[in-house]
Structure formats: C-alpha cells, structure tokens
Subunit: 340 residues, 2 copies
C-alpha cells in the first residue's frame, strides 16, 4: 500500500482478520467437528496488538483514498467495535453501519447464545466534508423501488462459487459471497472507478469489480490465496457496458438551469404554470424566473412562497399544459438532455 500514490483510490473494501478467540474444538450434536478459523493470520496476542495492526492499515487506507472516497469494512463483534472507534478517531465519517443478515448461518450448537446470524459492515467517508458517491436510485431499483435499508439479507458463499482445493476442501475459511460485493460496489462506485481491497484473499472484490467494469487493486500476502485470486479474476469477464449502467441518480443528471429551457425554446416565456391541483399559478419570465402577483423568483422560491412551505422542488411542483394534459417541468429536463 505504501507504494501507491495518495488520493488515488475511489473506494476501499476491507475484510480484515476478525481476531476470533476460540478455545478448543467445537462439536456438532452429531459429534462431528466444526472446521473453525484457526489460521495463523487471525491470531493476535491481545487487543492492543490488534489495535496497532488496525490503526496501521486504516491510516494507510486514508492516505490512499481521495477526498470523496469511501471505505467499507466488514467484521463481527470480535473486532468491529475496535474498528469503528478507530475510524472515528482517525477522522473518517461513518455513513452507515450495514448488517449482512445471513440467510443460512451456522447454528449455535450448544444453545448458549443467540445464533450468530449476521456480520456488520461499516461504510465511511474519508472525512466529514467528503462529497461521497451513493447510487441511491440504483439501490432503490435493486430493492423493488423502495429505499435500500441498512440490513441486507444474503446467503453465505457456498456451492460452486466457493473455491476449493484439490481435496475438495474450502480454499479460504471466510470467502465472502459475490452478491455482497456486488451490492457494495453498485452502491458506492461508478464505472471505471478504482477499487482497492487490502485483504483480497481469494479475490472476491477484484472479481466482482472486473465484472462490473470497475478498476481494481487487490493485495494479498498468502501465496495460495493470491494465486487462486489471479486465476479467478482472469476467468472473469466484464459485463457488456450497457448492462453495468444502472439507474442514474437525479443528482448525477447534469444540472439544467430552468432558464436554459426557456432560452432553448422548450418552454415559452409567458407560459402559465400551475401546481398539480391548479391551486396556484405563475407566469414564466424570459429570464427563467417566475412571477405571481408581487412574488418573483426561481421556480423553487416562488413555489415555496405560494404554499408557505420552507422549501419546494419546483421541477416536480410546477406543471404546464400540453395536449390538454398537465406535465411536470421535470419532463422538460429529461427532454433537454435527449436533445442536447
């Protein structure tokens, strides 16, 4: 990471070691043994050591992120609180904590706790003043046209997606499902963005990034994981360009001044605008302002004034008559883009 230039990364997804502290073996009710995470890379002496490790990579990630970039970190209760605190201490700005609800978690075999059925992701901007990217409309479209919530129900990574070694055993103990990365990248990156995964493992992030036509950098120190990741990414094919274009955000639409619509003749000066119920009315002035009695100003200001509201979206409030039908101003904005 130290070799990469500052401010060069749009989005980071990090799945760091969780610092699990397992004691002894765990057996299922049928006496088979649970294949838990006992790898060296997940062993830390104490919280202080884990905190030093965490701080080091979070500082470095922050150096690499451009000002408006965002970071995703996934973890469990063993480590996520330490990570969240440190994010705040380092000046990151938490945007959401997102819960990955597992549809098929491992049960609690001893009946001593609630089934550990979720993991937590933190989504944070580099700083409080970041103008971060959030593809609101794409998320809404992905969720049957209602806002995407902070809890996501997704299955574990199993079946053919799970990478296995020559003995048929899982290659990596904690391979994340591609569906999770799909949603993460769709929510917070755009085509050709640069995505970094500092704990790339078997390459889920790079693979999904390539599929979605994002650029990617994956870092992994374990040779077996890295090798598997490289092969996996090579096998992955970018989706056709038109299929990775998602519903665009309103705010991504190039801003169109109302005046320019008048200027370009999409709406004539003198046209009378009304609200949908035709309760108030105003006239379009040649400079793109509206006039209604003694009130004059932008489409938003006049709309607010006439309804005694603190604010008003003039694009959806004001309507004009066309072929006997009331149309919101917004349709003109769309037309102006099509004819630009």
């Amino acid at each position: 990471m130290r070799l990469l230039p500052a401010g060069s990364i749009d989005c980071v997804f990090a799945d760091p070691p969780y610092n699990l502290q397992l004691r002894g073996e765990l057996r299922r009710p049928d006496d088979s043994i649970v294949d838990g995470v006992d790898d060296d890379w997940d062993r830390f002496g104490d919280f202080a050591e884990y905190d030093r490790f965490t701080r080091a990579w979070l500082v470095e990630v922050r150096r690499l992120l451009r000002k408006d970039g965002t970071l995703w970190v996934i973890g469990s209760y063993h480590n996520i609180f330490r990570i969240g605190s440190m994010l705040q201490d380092l000046g990151y700005w938490i945007l959401n904590d997102v819960i990955w609800r597992k549809s098929n978690p491992m049960p609690n075999f001893r009946g001593r706790r609630f089934t550990n059925a979720h993991e937590t992701m933190i989504w944070a901007a580099r700083g409080r003043d970041s103008r971060y990217r959030f593809n609101y409309q794409a998320m809404k479209a992905l969720n049957d046209d209602v806002q995407m919530r902070s809890d996501w129900l997704l299955p574990l990574c199993t079946g053919p997606e799970r990478l296995r070694n020559e003995h048929g055993l899982k290659l990596h103990p904690t391979q994340k499902p591609e569906s999770l990365l799909h949603r993460v990248l769709l929510a917070s990156t755009g085509v050709d963005d640069i995505v970094l995964d500092p704990f790339a493992g078997t390459g889920t992030t790079p693979a999904v990034a390539r599929r979605l036509r994002r650029h990617f950098i994956g870092i992994e120190r374990h040779p077996d994981y890295a090798e598997a990741a490289i092969g996996r990414v090579r096998r992955e094919r970018p989706l056709p360009m038109d299929s990775v274009m998602t519903t665009t955000n309103r705010r991504e639409v190039a801003r169109v001044p109302f005046g320019s619509l008048v200027e370009r003749g999409l709406l004539s000066a003198g046209t009378i605008l009304t609200d949908r119920q035709r309760r108030v009315a105003a006239t379009v002035a040649p400079d793109g302002s509206l006039v209604s009695g003694s009130v004059r100003g932008s489409i938003h200001k006049v709309g607010a004034a006439l309804t005694n509201a603190p604010s008003c979206n003039g694009w959806t409030f004001w309507h004009f008559e066309e072929a006997g039908v009331l149309q919101p101003l917004d349709v003109l904005r769309t037309r102006s883009l099509e004819t630009a």
Copy 2:
C-alpha cells in the same frame, strides 16, 4: 449507582445517550486532517468526553453486577463502537451483538445514505468466566421452535404505548418498545431477578420488568421522565405467576439418576435397550448400569463405547420397546417427574 452494593444486580439494560450533540460540536468548516497519526486524538475532544462518560458508568455497572450477571446496551453507529470497545477493555465478555431491525423505520429523506433501519444491542457477561443465564428454550419457543437469531424484527414504539404530554407530543424522543424489553428480559433473566436500568427514561424497563415479575431499579435524572416512569410503573400489573413461567432449559430440570428408574420399577432389570436403528443393544443391570458383551457402565458410557463416539447422551440414544413402539429413555424421565 454508587449507593448500591457491589454484586447486587442480575441484569442491566442500558440505553445511554447516543452522543448526538457530538455531531454538532464536530461540525467544523476546516477538516484538514494531518495524517500524522499520533496527534489527532486531541482533535476529537468530544469523543474523549463521551468516552470518559461511558467508561464511568460501565465501570460502575460492572461493580454492581454479580459475577454471573449480564449487561445489555443499545446504541447506534454514533456511539456503539465506542461502547463495545470499552466493554472489551474493561473485561466484559461479549456474548452477542443483537440487531434490532425496525419494521417501520424513518426513511432517509435526502437519499444520501441507506435507510437507517436498525439499532445495535450488545449483550455481555461481567467477565469471561461468567456462568451467565440464557433461557435458550424460552427463546426457541418464542421463535416457532427454531433457535432465536441475533437479528430481531420489531416495530418502533408508537400508538398508545408511546407516552405523550398534555400537548399530544411525544414525551421522550427515543422511547423503546416494550416488545424489545420483553424479549431481552425473557432471554436473560428469571423470575425475581433484579434488573437495573441506569438510563430509565420513561420507564420501559421497569414497566416490563414488573409485568414479568422481575425486581427492578430505574435511575433517571430528568424529573419529567422520572415522574412519567413512576406513574407508568404504578399502572402496570404483574402478570399471573403461571403466565410468566416460560419453557425451562433442560439443564435446570431436576436431575434424575437412571438407576432410580430401575429402582422404582419404571424399567425392569434385564430389559434390552437398543439405539433407534437397532444397530447396537445392551441389557439393563439392577444397579442401573448397562451391559453389552464386555462393556459395562452408565447409559452414556456404554452408548459412547458401542458407537466409538467421544460422548453420548444415553437418555436420547437408548430406546426400549413398549406396545411395539421404540421409545427413548427420556420419556421415562418425564414420567418419573409426573409420578414423583
């Protein structure tokens, strides 16, 4: 809290301030953060203040908890990471993080983030060696007879449950739903346990505790909230004793030695027992031991030996024939309790 004796509390539920003013105080025009990582802590003096406050009450709660007691804390991403870290630093032992999924959350009006549709609870024992209480069977019964997961779907506190002042405005900004406390107390306390809520607000914890026949101590410094809480608790009536008794854990059921069943004639010496598939068999000896060839011992040991298993629950492994049907030994244990 300083007036209460050490080790006097079975369970604490805490809904501390979420540190919302912190966000206001952190609103700075200049966010030019130095990547030098050693001197940034004092820039977050407000976090430090919140941490001092948090540490103080968590230390005091730990003094009050008996060794096997547990603590619940609820929070959002603004404060829960700081609380979780501090719990770990203070020696608490996290058992679960539990997600309260709100069925009716407030939407995100600006469309700049995911709908914040959950809050996080941490359930922790006083220490790593706590033999904490978890009413596993009661939770399972509450969840259609499958294990209760770490994500709970419950509605916000609305309607008649929501306390309002004389102007019809909500009395407390973050009144928690009684259903949440119902599940918390049912999971981790028993009848006549002592429950403490150090941030009692309008008394949801005391009210539900009283209803479920738990003793309670609520602390609240705001006079309006305290007054409302007192009235609310007074109006609350404890449920009839038989309706607060829940499914009991098997571990709590009085232990019945297998030998006593033979002694009392519920099973004759000489009876032949088999496993459910009739693959192995053993004979009941008059002293309550089993014999199978050269193997002799308890129902558990012989079951384990004949199946080459490290352990075996003889009560569910061994069956006897009754009216042509194979019955597990466990049914005799139930009968013995009924006829005791």
